[in-house]
């Protein structure tokens, strides 16, 4: 456990983070992009078409990973908010700023790909069903976080406000899920058949796994590189920034 505590401590130190993150970002990008290329080509070119949905089911290779990851990012932002509120750790704030933008983009993409998938499959782009509604609400929550962060000039105070909103929002997510689930089962018109879990062939599953892993790696890299920028911006007047800029 000692090494863990040490790493945790060091991550809180800006110069250590700034230098250390660089190698990680390059590694994550290389691995992630390679996985994404392999997964995408495999998924589009080499898996058999679905018996019922034809080729359009291939959209799930992009839709499912983004939808999952965006949710994970929201939860991570709320956890970082908690860490910031309790320990006032500046790196937690830096993480939040970096992650909310990516989270919003991923959620928007998940919605878009869901709509495109729905057109041939459901016969309509948009249905107020449990999943679409809760993903839409999650996008609104992200937009709220971004708007709040952008509106408060004092960074310390902005971080505190964003933390509280993220925590309240994440506690709300199960309630939203529950209410949306309950509400939307009220009305299921027979013309629309919503996602019976399709028994997925293993050959279809592999590209999905590869794409998910690739996306996670790329996303981690993106967040880390945003964090590097924020750290640098914050510490622009300090000693170590001067040193690392001069030696380059």
């Amino acid at each position: 456990m000692n090494w863990f505590r040490q790493t945790f401590h060091r991550m809180g130190s800006p110069p250590y983070f700034y230098r250390g993150a660089r190698k990680w970002i390059t590694g994550l990008y290389i691995v992630g992009l390679a996985l994404l290329v392999v997964g995408t080509i495999w998924g589009i070119g080499f898996t058999p078409a679905d018996r019922l949905q034809g080729d359009s089911f291939r959209i799930i290779y992009f839709h499912v990973p983004t939808a999952h990851l965006s949710q994970l990012i929201y939860i991570a932002v709320a956890v970082a908010g908690f860490v910031f509120l309790v320990w006032r750790m500046k790196m937690a704030d830096v993480f939040m700023v970096s992650a909310i933008w990516l989270g919003a983009w991923l959620t928007a993409f998940a919605l878009f790909s869901g709509i495109v998938w729905g057109i041939p499959t459901w016969g309509t782009g948009w249905v107020w069903d449990a999943r679409t509604t809760s993903v839409l609400v999650q996008l609104f929550l992200f937009i709220g976080l971004i708007a709040l962060r952008g509106a408060i000039p004092n960074s310390q105070r902005a971080a505190l406000a964003v933390s509280v909103l993220a925590i309240v929002g994440v506690l709300n997510i199960p309630i939203i899920k529950y209410s949306v689930d309950w509400f939307t089962t009220l009305h299921q018109p027979a013309s629309i058949q919503i996602g019976e879990p399709i028994a997925i062939d293993l050959a279809m599953l592999w590209p999905l796994l590869i794409n998910s892993l690739g996306l996670y790696a790329v996303a981690a890299g993106v967040i880390l590189s945003h964090m590097r920028i924020h750290v640098l911006r914050r510490e622009r007047d300090s000693e170590w920034v001067a040193k690392s800029l001069l030696t380059k």
Binding site: R88, N154, S155, Q156
Partner: protein, 202 residues
Amino acid sequence: MVNTTNAKKLLTISNLNVEVADKVLFPNLSLQVREGELVEIHGANGVGKSTLLRYIIGTRRSPNGTLIRVSDDVVYVGQKSGLNPTLTPLENLRWFTQITGSKRTPKELMGALMQVGLGSFMRTPTGALSAGQIRRCGLAKLVVSDAKLWVLDEPLTSLDASATEWLREAISEHRNKNGAVICATHASLGLPAATTLQLGEL
């Protein structure tokens, strides 16, 4: 005047960093305030005077250093009046005694307003008063408070000669009753035996 060396400590600050927006304005500040003392805090604009007072009244918390207030009773008259412009001075003062928990009858509240020269305005909405009158109304809080420690932020702003004189007398009287006063100010109050704390360049 009370003998300050034997008097009880009301406030102890040690190794406090006065921070604003991640910048340390004044590192390792230490300060003790005993009964009967008057501490004047001097310093240029933006040096952290008001911020230091906010640490003392407890609305700001510091990540480092220690700040011990002997008791919770402190009364603060800040840059902002703390008076709602829709309510009258009397109603504002009543609300103040309610949140601080000092028991005062309506008569006593009115008496306090008479003292600061707002006798004929106590039922006018505070927003309709002049800047100086609003300051006077803010200072009336000192009269209706039981607090031993007064924390004043630029109390002389917008005050005329008679109000200034009244404040100086009120401070002297408070010190005689074992109270203490911490006051951030540009111009010295000119009272005897005041300690001066110079913030910023010495």
